[in-house]
């Protein structure tokens, strides 16, 4: 698995509006929360699915740590991805949000359901759409303590 890199100045986020990074390589996922219904959405939504209005939505930063809910090592993917890679779902308990993301800085045998994971940013393992494509920065999770 690739080593953790914080070269965020070299890569643009693969999508807008999902996260912010800082020059030191840290950052956060941006979500929004309906204050009335107490539901947090990632990615952000225009309106709450329960009260069907956007009037009570406030942008929030998601917590950086969560528990590993499940994971898989992908050996066969669509042709634009380099395999193998690991992906999983991490539950951000404080926010009530489950995030799908690649998992990094670990071998498959290191991973256990329920272990604590933390947010990092790094390059996508999807091959660039073009040689000039710099939109490579994605979010990932790594085991806490790596």
């Amino acid at each position: 698995m690739e080593r953790l890199e914080h070269k965020s100045e070299e890569a643009l986020p693969f999508r807008q509006g999902l996260f912010e990074t800082t020059p030191d390589g840290s950052g956060w996922l941006t979500a929004n929360r309906c204050e009335r219904c107490q539901i947090t959405y990632f990615p952000k939504r225009d309106f709450c699915i329960k009260c069907l209005t956007g009037d009570h939505l406030k942008e929030v930063k998601l917590s950086r740590k969560g528990l590993l809910h499940t994971f898989t090592v992908v050996h066969r993917a669509t042709p634009d991805f380099a395999t193998p890679y690991i992906v999983g779902y991490v539950d951000l308990e404080q926010d009530g949000v489950r995030i799908f993301a690649p998992l990094t800085d670990c071998e498959p045998d290191d991973l256990k359901i329920g272990m604590e994971m933390e947010l990092v940013f790094g390059p996508s393992h999807k091959k660039p759409d073009s040689p000039e494509d710099k939109s490579r920065l994605i979010y990932k999770f790594k085991p806490v303590g790596r």
Partner: protein, 380 residues
């Protein structure tokens, strides 16, 4: 709503046919269904064609290849449930008195269309981060194993059973006597799923003729009653949903049981969407045929085998036949119809009065999935 019946069914053998146009497959299936119903194409009032990737006007192209044109034809795309949805449309048209005789065709030519795994369309966020169809099932498999103690050997046994069932199905290409070790030694696709845990690529078509009770009274034949057919799509579920329980399948099943006036205990056998071995586990439980976590026991005790208490996928399922997307749902109706009529030969289930067909598929980030259809057929 009035009663409606399946009067005839037909299907091609599901196999890899990269050189065969999909129209040829569609025509073969519809000819067999018309012959089985002992009617002519002139008696058909409307056609519903389910497929995902056959291009614009697929139903019309099939009818033109057959040589009959001018009918109202509707093309239906609902990913894995395309064929089931087409069948449901045919059923509702007859049941709501819009027609007396309708035809549902399901068709899909997969060969040569995909390289590598299949992932959700276009802009899907999770796909952009590396999600694929085998991937989401692998994630759910690992979670189910964690919660209920299911093992890789248990999953492999489903593949063994369905491949064995397919040996007795002349319409299936992948019938084989394989062992649990064969499954576990096949290449890992997404851990813990191996190649034999995953349905293979194949091509095919299936057709069903749906008629009213008046037509049955006039023509006779070997009709099978359509008790109900329910369709759901995935719901937005923020927060921590249970990845081991299929909400879409459950909701569609509740609607289908309610409309049919029966419960899971009345279902003798089922054709369930086993795109992956773990999918059969999740769906048999989602349908209420076995309690949550109970599939561990049902697999080990042989309940799901043809001679067991709750036979699942006597046709061989998607694992044994492959999964030409649009065709699968109508092929399930084919199998259930033949079982209820007592025409299933070496794979005949001894008590086959009420059969359930389940198709479910697609992925939409934020929801559990795209579409699910549950149809219940019973002896008339």
């Amino acid at each position: 709503m009035r009663k409606a019946y399946v009067l005839g069914v037909g299907m091609t053998r599901f196999e890899r046919r990269p050189e065969t146009p999909m129209e040829v497959m569609g025509v073969a299936a519809l000819k067999e269904a018309l012959a089985d119903a002992d009617i002519t194409v002139r008696q058909i009032e409307a056609v519903y064609c389910g497929h995902s990737w056959q291009g614009a006007g697929a139903g019309q192209r099939i009818m033109a290849a057959y040589g009959f044109s001018g009918l109202p034809v509707t093309n239906i795309e609902n990913i894995c449930a395309s064929g089931s949805t087409a069948f449901r449309e045919a059923y509702y048209n007859v049941a709501t008195e819009r027609a007396e005789i309708c035809m549902a065709i399901g068709v899909e030519k997969m060969s040569g269309k995909f390289r590598g795994a299949i992932a959700p369309e276009g802009e899907d966020l999770e796909a952009a981060l590396g999600m694929t169809f085998p991937g989401i099932y692998a994630l759910r498999a690992r979670r189910y194993m964690h919660e209920y103690g299911l093992t890789s050997e248990d999953l492999a046994k489903i593949s063994v059973i369905n491949h064995r069932n397919a040996l007795n199905n002349e319409k299936a290409m992948f019938g084989a006597e394989i062992t649990i070790q064969d499954v576990l030694k096949s290449p890992t696709i997404c851990s813990p799923l191996h190649r034999y845990d995953c349905n293979p690529v194949s091509d095919g078509a299936a057709a069903a003729i749906v008629v009213s009770e008046d037509v049955v009274k006039r023509l006779g034949g070997r009709p099978v009653e359509i008790a109900s057919s329910a369709l759901t799509s995935g719901q937005f579920e923020p927060g921590f949903i249970d990845m081991t329980f299929e909400d879409m399948t459950h909701r569609a099943a509740l609607t289908a049981y309610g409309a049919a006036g029966c419960g899971p205990e009345d279902v003798d056998f089922a054709e369930v969407h086993d795109c992956f071995t773990i999918a059969e586990v999740l769906r048999v439980e989602g349908l209420g045929l076995v309690e949550p976590g109970g599939m561990v026991r049902a697999i080990r005790d042989g309940d799901i085998e043809i001679k067991g208490k709750k036979p699942i996928n006597p046709s061989g399922g998607l694992l044994g036949k492959g999964h030409p997307l649009g065709a699968t749902g109508v092929a399930q109706v084919y199998e259930i119809t033949r079982q209820i009529r007592g025409e299933a030969g070496p794979r005949q289930i001894s008590k086959a009065r009420v059969g359930l067909a389940h198709c479910r598929g697609g992925m939409v980030t934020g929801t559990e999935g795209a579409a699910c259809v549950v149809t219940i057929l019973r002896a008339s």
